[in-house]
C-alpha cells in the first residue's frame, strides 16, 4: 500500500478517474463502451509513438524526429503502393518500417559517432527527412479515393463487434492489438533483458556503462532504430485511420502530445527514470483531455492551453524532486 502511494502512476490513474467522473456527471454520454473503443482506436498510434519516445528519454537522449519519420514512411509507402499497383498492407508496413529503421540509423550515426547532442541531431534530421521527401517525392495529398483499399480495410478492421440499440455495429479496432503487442515487447525488453537495464543505466550514467565494457554506440543504434521502427508502424496506422495521406500532416501536431504524455507519465526528461505504465497512462490522460474538453463545454481552443499547462507542471515537478534530492546531499549528509 505504501509502495502504491509513492508511485506517480497511482496519482495519475486517480486524476484520470476523477476527470472521467467529472465528464460523466456533466455529460452522461461519455461513459459508454463505444466511447472507450473510439478512444483506443484514435489514440493507439499516439501511444506507440509515446512508447518510442519514452525509450529514448530513458536512455538520456531525446528524439523529436519521429513525427517526420512517421509521415515520410507513410507517404512513401502509400505512393509506392499506388505506383506499383500492388494493394498489399504487409508491403506498406515493410516499406514504412524500413524507412523508419534507416532514419533511426542515421540519427544514431550522428549521435554516437560525432557525439552531437541528441536534440540538435534529431531537430536537424527531422527537417532533413521531411524536406527531402517534399522535394523528391511530392507535396500532393493522396485522398480517400486514390488510397489503396488495404489501408481502408485495415482501418475499419475490428477485433470484435458489439451492437447498438438500433442494430448498427461498432467494435474494438485492430489498432489496439498492435499497441498491446508493441507495449508487451517494449516491456519485456526494458524489464527482462540486459539491454533494457543498460538503457536505464545509460540514462543514469552513460560513462559508467561504457566503462563496464558495453559499446554504447550499439545500444544507441538499437534505441534510435527502435523509435524509427515504431514511427514507421504508426505512419501506416495513421493513414489507415484518417484514410488520407497529407505529407504535411502529423509533423507538428503529434510532437507536443507525445512529449506531454510521456512527461506526464512520470518519465524524467533528464533520463533514467520512468515506467511504461506511466507512459500509457499519460497518453490516456492527454487523449481524454483532448477529446472531451468539448463535452465539458470548454472551448476546444483551450486544448492546446491545457496540454501546455500539463507539460510545464510535469517538467517542473521532476525538476523540483531532483533539486530537493541534490540539496539533501549537499552539506548535510548524515546516516
Amino acid at each position: 500500500m505504501k509502495k502504491l502511494l509513492a508511485k506517480n502512476e497511482t496519482y495519475l490513474l486517480l486524476v484520470i478517474v476523477v476527470f472521467c467522473a467529472v465528464i460523466t456527471i456533466v455529460n452522461p454520454a461519455f461513459l459508454t463502451v463505444e466511447n472507450f473503443f473510439d478512444l483506443a482506436r484514435n489514440s493507439s498510434g499516439t501511444a506507440i509513438l509515446a512508447i518510442g519516445f519514452f525509450v529514448v528519454l530513458l536512455s538520456g537522449g531525446i528524439d523529436i524526429s519521429f513525427p517526420a519519420v512517421a509521415i515520410v514512411g507513410q507517404y512513401i509507402a502509400v505512393n509506392s503502393l499506388i505506383a506499383l499497383g500492388v494493394d498489399n498492407l504487409l508491403l506498406a508496413f515493410a516499406i514504412s518500417c524500413t524507412i523508419g529503421l534507416a532514419f533511426g540509423a542515421v540519427n544514431a550515426f550522428f549521435i554516437s559517432v560525432f557525439k552531437i547532442p541528441t536534440l540538435i541531431v534529431t531537430l536537424a534530421t527531422a527537417n532533413l527527412f521531411h524536406g527531402a521527401m517534399l522535394e523528391f517525392v511530392g507535396t500532393k495529398a493522396v485522398n480517400t479515393g486514390q488510397l489503396p483499399n488495404s489501408f481502408k480495410s485495415f482501418g475499419l478492421f475490428n477485433l470484435f463487434d458489439l451492437h447498438r440499440a438500433d442494430g448498427s455495429a461498432y467494435g474494438l479496432s485492430v489498432f489496439f492489438l498492435v499497441l498491446v503487442i508493441v507495449a508487451l515487447v517494449t516491456w519485456f525488453v526494458l524489464r527482462r533483458t540486459l539491454l533494457g537495464r543498460i538503457i536505464y543505466a545509460m540514462g543514469g550514467n552513460s560513462e559508467a556503462v561504457r566503462r563496464s565494457g558495453i559499446r554504447v554506440t550499439s545500444v544507441q543504434f538499437f534505441i534510435y532504430c527502435y523509435v524509427g521502427l515504431l514511427a514507421g508502424i504508426m505512419g501506416i496506422m495513421h493513414v489507415s485511420l484518417i484514410r488520407y495521406s497529407n505529407p504535411t500532416y502529423i509533423v507538428d501536431s503529434e510532437l507536443l502530445h507525445v512529449i506531454a504524455a510521456v512527461v506526464l507519465g512520470g518519465a524524467s526528461i533528464m533520463g533514467g527514470s520512468g515506467t511504461l505504465t506511466g507512459t500509457l497512462l499519460g497518453v490516456a490522460m492527454i487523449s481524454i483531455l483532448e477529446k472531451n474538453l468539448v463535452l465539458l463545454g470548454i472551448s476546444s481552443y483551450y486544448q492546446q492551453f491545457f496540454v501546455g499547462l500539463v507539460l510545464v507542471l510535469g517538467v517542473s515537478i521532476t525538476h523540483i524532486q531532483r533539486r530537493v534530492r541534490s540539496r539533501k546531499q549537499l552539506a548535510f549528509v548524515r546516516d
Partner: protein, 505 residues
C-alpha cells in the same frame, strides 16, 4: 608464467601535445597490495584508464597473466579479472543497490535475460561477504557517499576479480570506514586477490601497501618496498622537493580591543548547538571536526546560506543579520566552499570570468557595460598574485589542475577584499606542493591583517596553519585550544574523534 598478475610495459600517452605518460612501466604481483602514488596531474588516473581498457595508449603493452594485449578493450580487461573502482565510482544513480551490484556481472557474462530474484540474491550475498547491509531496493542516488563507495567496492568483488584497482577510495569516507576498507583489502589478499591502491594520503600508503610505485610528471620515479620509505622521503620523491612545516604564530600585541566577528549561542536544530566564539583581525582560527560535526553547517550560517534558529552574529561589535551571501559579501565576509567543483567554480567558464564574477560591479564603465581594460587588469593581477599556472585567462576553469582551480576560487573571493575569510577544506584533493603554496597564501593574508577561519578535517593542516583551534563534535564546540603550538597531532585527533572525551567520562 611469471609471478606478476599485471605488467604495464613502456606506456606512452599524450593529450593535446601534453605528455601525460612517458615510458611508464610497472608490475603488480598475484595477491600483492601495491600502491601507486603521485601528485595530481602526475598521470595516475590516465594510467589506470589505460590498464582498464577505457583509454588507449599511444604506445606500450598491457600484460595480464603473461598474455600481451596491444589494444586492450574494457570488456577484455574485465574478463581477465581486472576490476577498477574509479574515483567517481561509476555507479548508476537511478538504479537500485541490487542492480548496481549485479549489472556489470551480467554484462561480463553476457546474460541476456534478467532474473530479478537471482540478481537480488547475488547482491545480498555479495554485501554479506563484505560485511555490510544496505537496503537492496534503495535507489543508489539516495545513499550517502560512504555507502555508495561500499556499493562500488561490493560490485567489484562480485566479479571473481583477480586484481582490484581502487582510485582514491578513501577520499570521501571517515577514519573508521577506511579501517574497514583496509580489512576488506587484507581479506582479499588471503584469497589471492591483488589490490592496486591509488592514493595521495601518505599515512594510508604506509599502513597497507607492500610496494609503492611513484609517478611524477608522467614518469616513473621508481618502485620501493613500503618499509624503505617514510613520510619525508615519499614526499620528496613525489614532489622533487623537501617540505617542512613551521606553525603559524599570532602576535598577541596585535590583538585589537574588538573582535572582527563574534558569534553568540548560535543554534540550529539537529545541526549545531550553542556555538559561541570570537575571532580577531590577523588570526587564523581553525575549526575542525568530523563530517557531521556541524562545522560546515555552522560556516554556511555565517555566510547567509543556512538560516540559524537562534543566536547572534556580531561584526565589529555590532549585531548583524546575515540573510544571504550578498549580505555577507557587503559585510566583508568571503566564503571558500568545501566542494569547489560544484559550489566554488563555474567550471565551464573561463578562469578570468571566474575571478571577476564577484566584483563585476566595480568593473563597469559609465554605460554600465564591463570595461575590458579594467577587467583584463583585474584578471591578470590575480593570476599573477596567486601564481595561477595558465597560458591565458580565457581558457575554461576545468582545464586547470586541482591546485590551480583552488587558487582561482581564492582569487575570486580575495578580489572582493574581504575582512573575514571563511575557508572550508582549502586543500581537499590538492597535491602536496600546491597545498603548501595555498597555505602560504593564507598565512600571508592573515599577516596582512585579514581575519581567517579555516575549516578542515586534516589534522596537520589545522595544526600547522592556525594559531587557535575550535574542535567541534556532534554540533557543539567540544574544546577551544587557545594556542595551537601547545597541542600534538595525536591529542587533537583524539579530541576530534571523541576518544579523549569518552575516557574522561
Amino acid at each position: 608464467m611469471s609471478a606478476n598478475f599485471l605488467e604495464v610495459r613502456n606506456i606512452f600517452k599524450a593529450y593535446d601535445g601534453v605528455q601525460a605518460l612517458n615510458d611508464v612501466s610497472m608490475a603488480v604481483g598475484k595477491g600483492e597490495i601495491h600502491c601507486l602514488v603521485g601528485e595530481n596531474g602526475s598521470g595516475k588516473s590516465t594510467l589506470i584508464k589505460i590498464v582498464g581498457g577505457v583509454v588507449e595508449a599511444d604506445r606500450g603493452d598491457i600484460v595480464i597473466e603473461g598474455k600481451v594485449h596491444h589494444h586492450l578493450q574494457a570488456i577484455d580487461a574485465i574478463r581477465e579479472g581486472l576490476q577498477i573502482i574509479y574515483q567517481d565510482l561509476a555507479l548508476y544513480p537511478n538504479l537500485t543497490v541490487a542492480e548496481n551490484i549485479s549489472l556489470n556481472q551480467m554484462i561480463e557474462r553476457r546474460t541476456r535475460l534478467v532474473n530479478w530474484r537471482g540478481m537480488r540474491a547475488l547482491a545480498a550475498k555479495s554485501l554479506d561477504e563484505v560485511g555490510e547491509s544496505i537496503d537492496l531496493d534503495e535507489s543508489v542516488q539516495n545513499l550517502s557517499i560512504a555507502k555508495k563507495q561500499i556499493v562500488a567496492i561490493t560490485r567489484a568483488l562480485t566479479h571473481g576479480a583477480r586484481l582490484i584497482i581502487m582510485d582514491e577510495p578513501t577520499s570521501a569516507i571517515t577514519k573508521d570506514e577506511v579501517e574497514h576498507l583496509f580489512s576488506v583489502i587484507l581479506g582479499l589478499k588471503q584469497k589471492g586477490i591483488a589490490t592496486l591502491f591509488i592514493s595521495h594520503k601518505l599515512s594510508e600508503v604506509f599502513e597497507i601497501a607492500e610496494n609503492v610505485t611513484i609517478l611524477r610528471d608522467g614518469k616513473k620515479v621508481g618502485v620501493f618496498p613500503a618499509g624503505d620509505l617514510d613520510d619525508e622521503k615519499l614526499t620528496f620523491l613525489m614532489t622533487g622537493q623537501r617540505i617542512s612545516y613551521s606553525p603559524f604564530a599570532f602576535d598577541e600585541k596585535r590583538r585589537s580591543a574588538l573582535p572582527v566577528l563574534e558569534v553568540r549561542r548560535l543554534t540550529k536544530a539537529r545541526q549545531f548547538n550553542d556555538i559561541s566564539f570570537k575571532v580577531w583581525a590577523g588570526e587564523i582560527l581553525g575549526i575542525t571536526g568530523l563530517i557531521g560535526s556541524g562545522r560546515t553547517e555552522m560556516a554556511l550560517a555565517l555566510f547567509g546560506l543556512n538560516r540559524p534558529d537562534s543566536g547572534e552574529i556580531l561584526v565589529d561589535g555590532k549585531p548583524v543579520r546575515v540573510g544571504s551571501p550578498e549580505g555577507a559579501k557587503r559585510l566583508g565576509i568571503g566564503y571558500l566552499p568545501e566542494d569547489r567543483l560544484s559550489q566554488g567554480l563555474f567550471v565551464a567558464q573561463s578562469i578570468g570570468d571566474n575571478i571577476i564574477v564577484t566584483i563585476v560591479r566595480r568593473l563597469l564603465s559609465k554605460l554600465r557595460l564591463i570595461n575590458p581594460a579594467e577587467r583584463k587588469k583585474a584578471e591578470l593581477h590575480w593570476i599573477d598574485e596567486l601564481r595561477i599556472k595558465t597560458p591565458s585567462p580565457r581558457i575554461p576553469a576545468f582545464s586547470l589542475s586541482g591546485g590551480n582551480q583552488q587558487r582561482v576560487v581564492l582569487a575570486k573571493w580575495l578580489a572582493t577584499n574581504p575582512r573575514l575569510f571563511i575557508i572550508d577544506g582549502p586543500t581537499i584533493g590538492i597535491d602536496i606542493a600546491s597545498k603548501r603554496n595555498i597555505h602560504e597564501v593564507i598565512r600571508g593574508l592573515a599577516a596582512s591583517g585579514m581575519t581567517i577561519i579555516m575549516i578542515s578535517d586534516e589534522i596537520p593542516e589545522i595544526l600547522h596553519n592556525c594559531n587557535r583551534i575550535l574542535v567541534m563534535r556532534k554540533g557543539r564546540i567540544e574544546r577551544e585550544i587557545p594556542d595551537a603550538a601547545l597541542v600534538s597531532g595525536e591529542e587533537l585527533f583524539n579530541l576530534v574523534s571523541g576518544k579523549l572525551f569518552d575516557e574522561v567520562r
